[in-house]
């Protein structure tokens, strides 16, 4: 059973002739470990915004548990409860001056009580190893800490699918490893994680499935091993490269 399905999505931004997404269809079964790759401007971010209901397709539909998502508040809240979105720059995501308050924003928007929201904050903070930062101001965190707090803010909503846009791009190797540990825990607990990345080591070393986008279309959707072979055939300079186990 696929929780989230994108069916024949077409989308273009106002004032742009070219379609940002052109007939994109994808499905996400539980426990999937997906890397989303593609050149800049290939439609990765637009696709992610559709997964969370920030953008709506001009043609096609997004289905959650087999039900078409509509733009009414209840349907959107339900989608955002199940699909968490983490942006590339954590500074875009952390709006509150306090870490604990920032993490509590999502759970409270789900209508949880203060005590339930507090429990969710503690749980997400423990999962992302930021419990010791809960009383710190967000502007005093390092880049890696900000990323983990931004992740905790989304995971506190307990989504079934996590969609993250270039989450690890600006992180040092140690901070990256911490993020991968968190993502591995999520996948083991049956959640699907889709990570947009330009790092082929991440795509081929961490993911099991690779979705490759090109000019608003799905160019390839298959196993990481097949994706690597295709990538190497198109880019011989990378041939023979063994991605690290992440």
């Amino acid at each position: 059973m696929c929780l989230l399905e994108l069916v024949d999505i077409h989308f273009s931004y106002p004032g742009h002739e070219r379609n940002a997404l052109h007939g994109v269809s994808l499905h996400f079964p539980p426990g999937d470990r997906v890397a989303l790759i593609g050149r800049n401007g290939s439609g990765k971010s637009t696709l992610m915004l559709h997964c969370n209901g920030i953008l709506f397709p001009q043609q096609g539909e997004v289905r959650l548990g087999g039900v078409t998502v509509t733009s009414d508040r209840a349907s959107l809240t339900n989608l955002r409860r199940h699909v968490g979105l983490v942006l590339q720059d954590p500074d875009d995501q952390l709006f509150s001056a306090s870490v604990a308050q920032d993490i509590s924003f999502g759970p409270l928007n789900l209508g949880l009580s203060t005590s339930e929201a507090r429990a969710r904050v503690d749980e997400a903070a423990a999962l992302c190893d930021v419990t010791h930062l809960l009383n710190r101001p967000t502007h005093a965190l390092s880049g890696g800490e900000k990323t983990r707090v931004a992740l905790a803010g989304v995971l506190a909503m307990q989504p079934s699918i996590l969609v993250a846009d270039e989450l690890i791009n600006s992180l040092d190797p140690w901070a990256r490893q911490q993020i991968f540990t968190i993502l591995d825990r999520l996948v083991k607990s049956g959640k699907t994680v889709m990570l947009a990345t330009h790092d082929m080591d991440v795509a081929f070393g961490w993911a099991e499935r690779v979705v490759w986008m090109d000019e608003g279309k799905i160019y390839f959707d298959g196993s990481a091993v097949e994706a690597q072979l295709l990538f190497e055939s198109e880019n011989p300079a990378f041939a023979g490269h063994v991605p690290p186990r992440l």
Binding site: S98, A100, Q101, S104, N109, H139, M157
Partner: protein, 243 residues
Amino acid sequence: MNLIDRTAYATPLRKLDPAYKAGFSLLVLILCLALNRPLVGVVAAAWMWILSIWWAQLPASLIRKVLLAEGIFLALSVAGVAVNIRFYPFFFGITADGLDSALLLFTRALGCASAMNFLALTTPLVDLLDLGRRLRLAPLLLDLMTLIYRFIFTLFESMERMRTAQDARLGYSGFWRGMSSAGELAARLFVDAYQRSARVQIALEGRGYAGDLRVLPAEYRRDRRVFALAAIVTLSMFFVWSL
């Protein structure tokens, strides 16, 4: 601003209920305004100095610098009150009345400023926003303050990065070149802030934003000894006023 923020987060009074700290500071401020004697302001400033160092454990050098800066500013401001100018018959000088008024104004303002310093240096803005929510201030105002406070720091970081990038390409190698670079930086910063606001909107909506920024209330320590302290400070100010 960074220094005030860091100090407020580091003080042992950080976890004391902001309502107590704000109430205490407000009480001192009202007493300074209501009790019309120069010595009252001096006593208020002295109390705030003592409490900042002994109770809030703030660095004495910081309190000294802040009070000195405020004192110089106030002295320059009240100088005009002390000096008396009259054209018919011509008089230019300092009268006893003028000096009394200037002294009263100076000590009163210094006492009030000390009370506000105490609040600012022991209470991070996030706690004041929390207090505002408890006092049922307009949510829109509090949400705006939350976002402005958060993004002041982000904007500073962007500005630093842009300035470094300009500097590395000799953007500030002369006065006019520097002025031109600063103008470009300001324009770019505006665009950056605008684009960031769009991304923040996306991030908030992604977490179910429905019109107001609902967050958990912070947990604070309540210490009834504050009331005793407030009573002692009030009595001492009334005592010097009655002299």
